[in-house]
Amino acid sequence: MIDKNSRTILSVQGLRASINGTEILKGIDLTVKSGEIHAIMGLNGSGKSTFAKVLAGHSAYEITGGSVQFEGNNLLELPPEERARAGLFLAFQYPIEIPGVANTQFLRLAYNTVQTKRGKEELDPLEFDDFVREKMKLLEMNPDFLDRSVNEGFSGGEKKRNEILQMALLEPTLSILDETDSGLDIDALKTVANGVNQIANKNNATILVTHYQRLLDYIVPDFVHVMQAGRIVMTGGKELALELETRGYDWVNANKSVAGVIA
């Protein structure tokens, strides 16, 4: 929701980043305020996943220009774990499998690490078990997933639910969902979207990175941005996603000049 009394959570200005000497992000500007849901759309290779990873602090990318303020602090000087503790969360496109570590052990470790850094109490295994089982209901997840190794042998949908479960546990201020809809059937998509909608509130914000409009039927964005060649070339409301769906990304090229008007 767009709210007059909202505060700025994320402010990105002229962000440039490269990997192995190749520039991928070529000057991104984006402001996200509390209560807002933003969708970043674009073709493969447009730089949208890179943008998500750069915000989360992936060390493979070199920042070559611009600035990112997260709740008034310089995000770029923080290592990834401190970004997470400060309230930034990235739901991975391809969540990592960790054989040998029980999911519940991992979830509790992440939860307790973040909680203690925020000056709150840790939960012991029994307390955590009650807590996590409640959160799993939100995502219609089978509690058996607690005892299995992290993401090991999970289907695509199960992995994405597990990502959103982590988001529910860590209560981030800014959630970035990287292609969370990919590999999901329609039922799983609805469940995951429902989870995200329930977590979203007026004090936090969400960025959805997606290739397709389909996800936006279930998580309705306040803003839609189109990325191309490392820049946001067009910004509009939720109707822009529908426009893209019917006209395709080629239409963007023809209308880039009017981007400002639509925004």
Partner: protein, 433 residues
């Protein structure tokens, strides 16, 4: 190493414990005599031997440790911490010698369990057809030495169609320094039987000694056995072990071997699928540091059709330690429809750490499915980033991933208390500060 030293070493060992001529059973004396005969034709292996090219065993040539004498001063409370609460049957061997005081035999009616010499008269024909018949000592000087010094040993015979639910714990404790002990185990699973065996090598103090063990396992048709082997010897010890397994029709053998201790250790595991539709799972974890050397040589031999083997071996190597894995899989011409997979995954935690991994597939049948793969490396950056993005520090992320790498194998051990002990051991060894 020169041949003179080798000859001296073996000669010195043989002189040390002459065979008692009072032994009543000629077949057993014959077996020992045969072994001694083989020793006289062999030398200590050197790195010129293909089977030993990564492992220099020459340090032991300078340590002609005499066989340990039976002098057990241990009490039950000294080894309390080593007990597995799930195990009702426990055989304890101190420096290779059976200790009836420390052992607990619960099921003497349901199965045959105890020290070998107690059964040589009553089970002569069974023993004669198995003892020394699965492990080949013609080209294996350590197995020959063990057989020459064969005396005490663990014997377990699980009768037909009997399933023993609780694990059987074989505990081999080293207490004396500068001796050689010769542990021996024989497990016979009769048709349709089921058993879980824990073979556990421990030390009560940091000392230099040699353990030379031989284990033989024979599973009849449809028999199942889970075999968990833990080598947690003193960090100064030398551990040389041979295990041979024979699998009959549709039998199932699952092995998990964990190597943590010893200065130099070598484990040879040979599994022969002698009849159709036999299955085996051979998992291993080596976790070493400092200047330890741990060598695992396995051979899975598919002789008949429709066999299945799955092998997953992992090494975590820190400091200047050196791990060796040689995994041979042979599929004979008649072993059609064999399904075999092998993976060797290795994690190096320091610049000086070293691993030699060698998958060796010899396939002579044309209708088979065989997959293998080996990796050597450091922790994956994407995995570290994933954990960091959940708030874990880089160090905590590395520690967790290293632990997980080992815990994946440990988690397959079906004995909870043992699994917890080992998880703690892995945790202690993988967590840097």
């Amino acid at each position: 190493m020169n041949d003179l030293a080798s000859t001296d070493y073996l000669g010195c060992l043989l002189k040390s414990w002459p065979i008692k001529s009072t032994e009543s059973l000629s077949w057993l004396n014959q077996l020992r005599a045969q072994a001694i005969d083989r020793i006289s034709t062999q030398k200590l292996p050197t790195r010129r031997d293909e089977e030993w090219r990564f492992t220099d065993i020459s340090p032991i040539a300078h340590l002609p440790y005499q066989p340990s004498q039976p002098e057990c001063n241990l009490h039950a409370h000294d080894i309390e911490h080593l007990s597995l609460k799930e195990a009702k049957n426990r055989l304890v061997f101190v420096d290779g010698h059976y200790s009836s005081n420390l052992s607990t035999i619960f099921d003497s009616t349901a199965l045959v369990i105890g020290n070998l010499p107690e059964f040589v008269a009553t089970h002569a024909s069974t023993l004669e057809s198995h003892l020394g018949q699965h492990v080949q000592f013609d080209n294996n000087v350590f197995a020959a030495l063990n057989t020459a010094f064969l005396r005490d040993g663990a014997l377990i015979i699980v009768p037909k169609n009997i399933a023993i639910v609780e694990p059987i714990h074989l505990l081999f404790i080293a207490t004396q320094k500068e001796v050689t002990s010769y542990p021996r185990c024989l497990l016979i699973g009769e048709a349709g039987s089921d058993v879980t065996l824990v073979e556990d090598y421990v030390a009560l103090q940091q000392a230099t000694y040699i353990t030379n063990s031989v284990t033989e396992i024979s599973l009849a048709a449809n028999a199942h056995a889970k075999h968990i082997r833990i080598q947690r010897e003193s960090a100064q010890a030398f551990h040389l072990a041979n295990c041979a397994v024979s699998l009959a029709h549709a039998s199932n053998y699952q092995s998990t071997s964990i190597s943590l201790g010893s200065q130099i250790s070598r484990y040879n595991l040979n599994v022969r699928l002698t009849d159709a539709a036999a299955e085996c799972v051979v998992d291993g974890l080596t976790l070493i540091s400092d200047r330890q050397l741990a060598d695992t040589h396995t051979c899975i031999d598919h002789l008949k059709p429709n066999g299945t083997s799955r092998q997953h071996h992992k090494c975590i190597v820190d400091d200047a330690a050196h791990a060796v894995f040689n995994g041979k899989i042979i599929v004979h011409p008649h072993a059609q429809q064999t399904n075999s997979s092998q993976s060797s995954r290795n994690l190096l935690l320091s610049k000086l750490a070293q691993v030699d991994t060698k998958p060796q597939l010899e396939i002579f049948a044309d209708d088979v499915k065989c997959a293998h793969g080996a990796t050597v490396g450091q922790l994956d950056q994407e995995e570290i980033f994933y954990l960091e993005s959940r708030g874990l520090s880089a160090k905590a992320a590395r520690n967790l991933l290293t632990y997980a790498f080992g815990a994946e194998i440990i988690s397959r051990i079906p004995v909870t208390s043992l699994r917890q002990q080992l998880e703690q051991a892995v945790l202690n060894q993988t967590q840097s500060n």
